[in-house]
Subunit: 206 residues, 2 copies
DNA sequence: CAAACCACCATACATCTGTATGGTAAATTA
DNA sequence: TAATTTACCATACAGATGTATGGTGGTTTG
């Protein structure tokens, strides 16, 4: 059985996981710099310990050759910037304290952010309470994309269509009439494009 | 405006994207080896062209310092191994031809695979047609996890509970009675644990 | 046709990267 | 108390890595 990591080892592993989440793998030197070590050997010895305990797998002789093995770390906490509940104002957490466990698989697209869905008002788009929408800030959404927008201080999550002189926001549910925004209406602002919806099944224990 | 990539440049970029999706970044040498070049300079010149056209950003002097910029490539195709439609047999595609566009953000956890959901028979778990479930093969699911299992050749996606002498599969919908499997029943096999559900909002154009 | 681009090659080189080895000091454990 | 583990240091080195420079041959394009 793999033993427990020491405090220092855990911090180093967390750093590697964070880097991996950015699509990067740190070198020994980069890890050493991060923790103020003057020497790569120190890092190397820590990595050897971490590997011995079964949390990573290193490719010898290959630079940045660190693979994560740890099943326990399948999830990394990601900051959630706020909440959307269609109709209500868009809540942005002042300090982004709340986090959601995204799979380690989930490397956020650059500059995109997460919003937690509250309430079932988006259920006609098959989005439910507790779901996390991945939002890519984009000043120019393409037609047909689902966007998060603010309309007169109320948050909406709708499908975006740009017509000649106006913008239309369609609901997934055809029974609802589209919202029509005339061009240059100042109370309207696109927050971003909903890239996807992720629902974590492991932590939602029934 | 960034120009079009040439055929060769596109292939190299695709290779980098694939590697990034594995949580790795290739070196010039690795790219050269992949394409049969005898020289890293060839790769370097291609990368310079790709960077000039605005698809990547390179960190000079830093090994494996390639960042993807391309918004068009926010998604990478991932093989889908099969389909789940609760009640029906688990369909595994013989050649895994079908693919789903996962966000570039999505680095699959090791050994996990994707199953496409077909039919609305899982809607009591808020999973719908077109959704992709991320399955982590795991011989020992923990209580309360949602699992994909095969029971008498039919696929089920249920919440898993292990009792003393039996296994219970609960539906999200409390109206449905749990399925009870006595220990050592041979017609039952766990396929894996559902780690999460991802729904791509961009490609599903209404 | 000349100029530009494309797709490759070879050689040379400074720096980065991981490794090897040996040492110090403190805390923990047997 | 002795042995082990943890956490750091320094120096040295081979090979990996990105870069610089210059060359060949083919294809587009003005």
């Amino acid at each position: 059985m793999s033993k427990q990591l020491t405090n220092t080892q855990q911090k180093i592993l967390d750093f590697i996981i964070d880097k991996k989440a950015e699509g990067k793998v740190p070198t020994l030197a980069e890890i050493a710099e991060r923790f103020g070590y003057r020497n790569r050997s120190t890092v190397r010895q820590h990595l050897q310990a971490i590997e011995k305990k079964g949390f990573i797998k290193r490719n010898p002789k290959i630079s940045r050759g660190i693979d994560l093995l740890t099943e326990d770390k399948l999830f990394i906490p990601r900051p959630v910037l706020g909440e959307v509940a269609a109709g209500n104002p868009l809540t942005i957490y002042p300090d982004a304290i709340d986090t959601v466990d995204l799979p380690t698989i989930a490397r956020m697209p650059k500059d995109s952010f997460l919003l937690k869905v509250k309430g079932d008002s988006l259920k006609d788009a098959y989005i439910f309470t507790g779901d996390v929408v991945i939002v890519n800030p984009n000043p120019e959404p393409r037609n047909g994309q689902i966007v998060v927008a603010v309309l007169d201080d109320a948050a909406v999550v709708k499908r975006f269509f740009k017509k000649r002189n106006r913008i239309e926001l369609h609901s997934e549910n055809p029974e609802y009439e589209p919202i029509v925004i005339e061009k240059d209406y100042s109370g309207f602002k696109i927050v971003g494009v909903v890239v996807g919806v992720y629902r974590n099944m492991e932590t939602r224990v029934g």
